[in-house]
């Protein structure tokens, strides 16, 4: 039995029946990570992992332990783990050591989790391919010449390649769902406010959300249940408790938005998603054609709001408080040099874009306009969820593309997010579920979108679709 192939539940059962210990399980993963050439990890926290595994084994011996106790996981390098490096895949934070635990990490530690390491990502979570990492791109485990998807590239690749049992990612415009789709694993972007953002390195604060990447739906439920809920350290976190729900497809109305099946969609992707929809219909779901008319504006809206928020959030990297500091003749020089040296090309592009859109004379045309369009996108979903329970659509118009294919053309790279950003703009939850593979053998994800705080509906139906 290869221990690293187990799901959370099966690993839990193995620990319970004493087939193996958490230390053995942890060592099996560490061994695999060491042999890997995917570049999914930026740092491996071996000492922490083994210490946590020993503690977990003690708990297990006592008989009182939960689902996540002793189970090894990987954490996106944008989430703080006390005493460990947290780089956000940026040169500016290359040597930064986290002073405290993010709330999600605190919760995982209380559950007895084992943290294997910090995963690769696009710098400051800005990117759709994983190639914007200052420390090299993550390779797709299904084809090493292809991107893993971004920005949570290492979190998705590590789970797909059995280098972690599950992982945490973050999703601002598709950063959990895209790599999950490209790597053939399950990824959940929760409702805005369902999971605390405290200790997540901020990118677009009105859009960011932490979520699980797992091998199957049941594992996503277990991890989501563990990390969600109100946190006094995040004023935008909601009083929310995950409640199990068991609904069936025959009780369900599923909306299929016509705007998500237009020119530019890959043939194999469309075929796979259409066949998933057919399976749901055959199982008794009512399929309803719907329209999300503001879809064509969502991407532009996102690429104004996110860089605007990023330009403000990233002002804190000044060479004074923490991170890279470059010398200069006066204070302004220290700012200019540290930021000029520390940030990579995409981060600079977004800071400039955001600063431009917020600057005097352009605010109304860009930022204010984007806020108006945000309202339109939200209304689209409000109207849709009056008619249907869930929405089925693709995560991305194409499967994983070649490394280097889009790196010179930022606009082409932005278009990768065309089917994922609306979910963040509206703050609703979205899931990527493996739905099939293209002729080339690349995974394709079905996106299931639900109404605010209806993760349980998404996950319950996801379970059916997983078996279908």
């Amino acid at each position: 039995m290869d221990l690293t192939e187990l799901t959370i539940r099966r690993a839990h059962e193995g620990l319970k029946s004493k087939k193996f210990t958490s230390v053995e399980l942890t060592k099996a993963y560490l061994e695999k990570i060491k042999k890997s050439d995917l570049n999914a990890f930026l740092s491996v926290t071996e000492d922490l992992a083994l210490q946590q595994a020993e503690e977990a084994d003690k708990k297990i011996a006592s008989g009182e332990f939960g689902m996540l106790c002793g189970i090894p996981c990987a954490i996106k390098d944008a989430i703080l783990v006390e005493g460990q490096k947290c780089t956000a895949a940026s040169k500016i934070l290359e040597n930064y050591v986290a002073s405290y635990d993010a709330t999600v990490i605190k919760k995982l530690k209380e559950s007895g989790a084992v943290i294997l390491g910090k995963t690769n990502m696009d710098e400051f979570a800005m990117g759709g391919s994983g190639e914007n990492s200052a420390f090299g791109a993550t390779k797709n485990p299904h084809d090493k010449t292809k991107v893993a998807g971004g920005s949570s590239s290492g979190s998705a690749a590590s789970v797909a390649a059995d280098e972690a049992c599950y992982s945490l990612g973050s999703d601002t415009g598709g950063s959990i769902r895209l790599p999950a789709s490209f790597c053939g694993v399950v990824g959940l972007k929760p409702t805005y406010g369902a999971v605390s953002r405290y200790g997540l390195i901020a990118f677009g604060s009105s859009l960011d959300q932490i979520g699980p990447i797992t091998k199957n739906i049941e594992d996503a439920k277990i991890v989501f249940d563990a990390i969600s809920g109100k946190d006094k350290m995040d004023a935008t976190s909601a009083d929310y408790v995950y409640e199990k729900l068991n609904i069936e497809l025959k009780d369900l109305k599923i909306g299929v938005p016509k705007e998500y099946f237009v020119k530019g969609i890959d043939r194999d992707v469309e075929k796979i998603i259409r066949s998933s929809i057919k399976k749901a219909e055959d199982a008794g779901a009512e399929i309803i054609d719907i329209s999300l008319p503001s879809t064509e504006y969502a991407l532009a809206c996102y690429y104004i709001i996110a860089p605007c928020e990023a330009s403000a959030n990233l002002a804190r990297y000044d060479g004074i408080k923490y991170g890279l500091s470059e010398n200069g003749k006066d204070l302004l020089d220290v700012y200019l040099n540290s930021r000029g040296k520390g940030f990579g090309p995409e981060v600079k592009r977004r800071i400039i874009l955001g600063t431009y859109a917020l600057s005097s004379g352009y605010y109304d045309a860009y930022y204010k306009k984007a806020l108006e369009v945000r309202e339109l996108v939200k209304q689209d979903f409000v109207k849709a969820f009056k008619k249907v329970d869930l929405i089925f659509c693709p995560v991305s118009p194409t499967p994983a593309f070649k490394l280097g294919e889009k790196t010179d053309n930022p606009l082409a790279m932005y278009l990768v997010d065309v089917y994922t950003v609306a979910v963040n703009i509206a703050g609703v939850p979205g899931l990527s579920l493996p739905a099939g593979k293209t002729k080339e053998g690349l995974p394709v994800g079905l996106q299931i979108i639900g109404n605010h705080f209806e993760e349980n509906k998404i996950l319950s139906i996801g379970m059916f679709m997983e078996k279908a």
Binding site: Y96, V97, S99, Y100, Y192, G193, S205, S206, A235, T236, S294, Y297, A300, C301, Y303, I304, I305, S311, A315, D318, G319, I320, K321, Y322, L324, S325, G328, K329, D330, L331, L332, D333, V334, Y335, L336, N337, R339, G340, K341, F343, P345, K348, R349, I351, I352, L353, T355, Y356, S359, K369, A370, L371, E372, V373, R374, E375, L376, P410, L411, Y414
Partner: protein
């Protein structure tokens, strides 16, 4: 096309040092991206009463929260310091 001066002005506002090459690439990229944003002009007008994020904020009690337990670590993370202070360059 966005001018060189415009990019340099924005870069200064953003406290970002850009090389000549970076300025040129930024002109090209920014022009393409802003051109794409033009499609928003076709979007129907709506009235928004409050910023999208205002609903989420809430008043909280103005209580003193002790952060002394990690104060040393936070100051320790600063690149340049003296005793318990973070050192900065002269402003003028």
């Amino acid at each position: 096309m966005i001018s060189k001066e415009e990019v340099e002005h924005i870069a200064k506002l953003a406290r970002l040092e850009l090389t000549e090459k970076e300025v040129e690439k930024m002109r090209k990229d920014l022009t393409a991206i802003l051109g794409y944003f033009d499609l928003l002009k076709r979007a129907p007008k709506v009235k928004i009463e409050e910023p999208a994020f205002a609903k989420a904020s809430a008043w909280r009690r103005d209580e003193v929260v002790s952060s002394y337990d990690i104060a040393d670590e936070l100051i320790g993370a600063a690149p340049d310091k003296k005793d318990n202070y973070i050192k900065v360059k002269a402003i003028f």
